[in-house]
Amino acid sequence: MDPAPGKNHFELFGFPVKFDIDTDELAARYRELQRRVHPDKFASGSDQERRLSLQMTALVNEGFQTLKDPVRRGRYLLNLRGVDLDGETDTAMDPAFLMEQMELREELEGVRESDNPPKRLADLANRIERRMQDKIDEFRRAFADDVPEGTGKARNAVREMQFLEKMRREIDNLEEELI
């Protein structure tokens, strides 16, 4: 673990470039890296040192945010493999998956009028978390096969995870409204 510019997030944190990551160890290394590049340590350093310290602090933060979240980590891994998911306009997805998403959102819409909104919302949240775990497992398996089909499947899994994340956010919003 040697903080220097030009490394990818995995290299920066000293992890192999793969999906599974020890999040406790990640948090520990994050604190250690933060400490080593902290601008306070370079307050009396040269302009160049101070600039580098700021730059590295930003990189360390960005790296930690990316690696700790499975969806962002997945997107990033695909990016390293040359698959860019930013700004893509491909709207073709598995129709069955989209239908399910549509139904889940209809269900969320009905929560407020149900006889027990907090319970209905909690049930829905649990189901979303299970689906998210399915997709994470799907991604892990697909990404481990370093073949075009594997990468394509991994891409689908991440794209689907992004819909589940949206559901998560909407569930959180409604939860706050219900309190």
Binding site: D86, T91, Q101, R105
Partner: protein, 143 residues
Amino acid sequence: MAYSDKVLDHYENPRNVGTFDKDDPDIGTGMVGAPACGDVMKLQIKVSEHGVIEDAKFKTYGCGSAIASSSLVTEWLKGKTLTQALEIKNTEIAEELALPPVKVHCSVLAEDAIKAAITDYRTKHVPAGESRDANPEPRAAAL
């Protein structure tokens, strides 16, 4: 972000919200989604025996621009033949609604939904006089 008056109008008074029976042979259903923002759009067309779109309905879970784009195209689709419907371009939708560049993908979603609905209708039955080769949208079935 400021929405245009036209977007607000469709957002506040969406036209043709609803659902047709997707198993009805006269109905074509297009489901599309935008992974970047998690929007989901369902567009359905009811096609007459002469290949004219008699009615259209949509259901969209997404931002105002996505709702407005799908609401607008349901209005545009009525009375069009399938061939004419396929000529609707996302740029026309974006222009009509004055969508800012960051929301142009919502109009792409609506255009793709039209194509997916027509593809679905055509896979249900190949109408006389139109061959499958005229179908320009193999993508929806590819994934």
